[in-house]
């Protein structure tokens, strides 16, 4: 019995390892950077830029021609030593805010960023008002509450 369990365990471990080994990036045929910090920057940047022909993919994941061109441009800019902010500005000035998965905070995107907070505030304050009214009601009976509600 215990032998069977160990065999099963080993088998599942082997299968897990096999699954993990499939996680290879095969889309970007380009060489990696000589500087590991640049490589890291390139990978983070390309996974935050939307491929506009296939809108739910990042340019790191997309095989579209445009994604390929955009990767090449990002690579060039990283190699030229441009900062992340400069590279993002380059793309936003050409393609608009939609090109970034996390658009910059500015007047036109403020509502987008603040909406969750706004909704939480509305919901939270409604909840608070309802609770405080409940607590002011007499504690012992349900009937007055029903009457009040009608």
């Amino acid at each position: 019995m215990s032998l069977r369990i160990r065999v099963t365990q080993r088998l599942s471990l082997a299968m897990l390892l096999l699954l993990l080994s499939l996680q290879v990036h095969a889309i970007d045929p380009q060489q990696s950077f000589s500087n590991p910090a640049d490589q890291q920057r390139y990978q983070v940047l390309t996974s935050e830029i939307r491929c506009l022909v296939c809108q739910n993919e990042t340019i790191a994941d997309s095989t579209a021609l445009l994604a390929n061109d955009l990767r090449r441009e990002v690579r060039r800019m990283v190699e030229e030593g441009m900062t992340d902010a400069e590279i993002k500005e380059f793309l936003v000035s050409r393609y608009g805010d939609f090109v970034l998965y996390r658009p910059q905070f500015k007047p036109t995107t403020a509502l987008l960023w603040l909406a969750p907070l706004l909704l939480l505030l509305i919901g939270g304050s409604t909840f608070a008002v309802v609770l405080s009214r409940r607590s002011r009601l007499p504690k012992d009976v349900d009937a007055p509450l029903m009457a009040d509600d009608q």
Partner: protein, 177 residues
């Protein structure tokens, strides 16, 4: 809170939400507005198709209204709009400049020989770098430039004569042409 408001508020919120959804139904998610509209068109300098030693730049387009059309022989929508381009060039006397995007110049030349050439000149952008500068994400795309080189309008997708009449012509007439 007054009694009426207690019911009116959620109802109003619901109607507003439905309003957003309803508008969303008719919006094309593949349409991404260009940040260049009403701004200076990006500079570029590309070798001309058919005349490789010559180059096409924004300066060539100054002084009159013009169209910049992004096309390629691999692009089905470009084939579809080709007759419209020919018509706009002939009937409306509109100078059209082509941006031949990620294409084989030999195929592009053949295309123009076989289908007719609506373009004043074509810039060859084999690498697609000028297209990125112009915020191009899918051919065909057509920009309307003012005589001063300001982008007045951008159309994404194949042109037809209705789109030309409705979206482009009024902009020309509005400027007194």
């Amino acid at each position: 809170m007054p009694k009426g408001l207690k019911f009116a508020l959620p109802a109003l919120a619901f109607i507003a939400l439905m309003g957003f959804f309803f508008i969303g139904l008719f919006r094309d998610p593949s349409y991404i507005p260009s940040p260049f509209v009403n701004k200076q068109a990006p500079e570029f300098d590309l070798p001309k198709l058919l005349q490789e030693n010559d180059s096409l730049t924004l300066v060539d387009m100054r002084g009159e209204y013009s169209l910049v059309n992004v096309w390629a022989t691999w692009c089905a929508g470009c084939r579809q709009e080709h007759d419209t381009l020919l018509r706009v060039a002939a009937d409306y006397n509109m100078p059209i400049y082509g941006l031949n995007w990620k294409d084989d110049p030999a195929k592009a030349t053949l295309w123009l020989e076989q289908l007719g050439n609506p373009y004043v000149a074509n810039g060859v952008d084999e690498m697609g770098t000028t297209a990125i500068d112009w915020g191009v994400y899918g051919a065909p795309e057509t920009f309307l430039l003012s005589p001063e080189g300001i982008v007045l309008h951008k159309h994404i997708g194949p042109l037809n004569i209705e789109i030309w009449r409705n979206d482009f012509l009024p902009l020309l007439q509005g400027q007194g042409t």
